[in-house]
């Protein structure tokens, strides 16, 4: 069965600093990989997704993620965070066999001024 681990429940970063949010997955085959962001009182929004090709995938608002098959990881990065990036970030995987998202437990991103 697939599973997703986000080891950091909370990450605090200074505004303007770089960011990495970690995600590791467990799956017998490479799944579709997603990063979603959840702002307070708003719906989950897709930042980016990956299935194949270039392991570095670009997303919205300057986010990117890098897939590593050897490490079973899909870490999210941003070069310079803004206060508006404060939110909860979820990593998720999905298989074509059932098209249901398996979610990580989320990482709350706190931006220090």
């Amino acid at each position: 069965a697939q599973s997703v681990t986000q080891p950091d429940a909370r990450v605090t970063v200074s505004e303007g600093a770089s960011l990495q949010l970690r995600c590791k997955y467990s799956s017998s085959v490479t799944p579709y990989l997603f990063w979603y962001v959840q702002y307070p009182r708003q719906g989950l929004q897709l930042l980016l997704k990956y299935y194949s090709g270039d392991p570095v995938v670009q997303g919205v608002n300057g986010f990117e993620a890098e897939f590593s098959k050897s490490n079973s990881s899909f870490h999210l990065r941003k070069a310079s965070v803004h206060w508006s990036d404060s939110a909860v970030y979820f990593c998720a995987v999905s298989m074509d066999s059932n098209y249901q998202l398996i979610w990580g437990s989320g990482t709350k991103l706190i931006i220090k001024p």
Partner: protein
């Protein structure tokens, strides 16, 4: 920005009461998912539809929930007899087509509190 509309935003029910929530998917999106997000940010897939047909659902949904996506009306998810453990954020998402290559657009959710 997502145009999936979920109502109500908040729902408070007593144990044993019915709890009904609605979802208007994005226009032209025939695929609809419902997920439950609890206070620990654990997500549970509940059910999905393509057009009006249920494609997948978990046992809990089949036994305790009533869900439908009629044509030209909002989709709905109703708990027949609410339990304390049902307190959660219920998320509806829609997609243009079946398959992971199609983006799921989520609504803001209905937050259910069962007292």
């Amino acid at each position: 920005n997502s145009k999936v509309i979920q109502t109500p935003r908040y729902l408070v029910k007593g144990q044993g009461q019915k709890a009904k929530m609605r979802c208007i998917p994005e226009k032209g999106h025939p695929v609809v998912f419902w997920y439950q997000q609890n206070k620990n940010n654990e997500f549970k897939f509940l059910i999905n539809f393509q057009n009006q047909e249920v494609l997948q659902q978990i046992d809990m949904t089949e036994k305790r929930f009533s869900a439908e996506c009629p044509s030209n009306s909002p989709c709905s998810l109703e708990i027949q007899s609410s339990e304390a453990g049902d307190s959660a954020l219920y998320l509806c998402a829609s997609s243009l087509d079946w398959g992971n290559q199609n983006t799921l657009y989520f609504g803001a959710g209905t937050r259910l509190s069962v007292l």
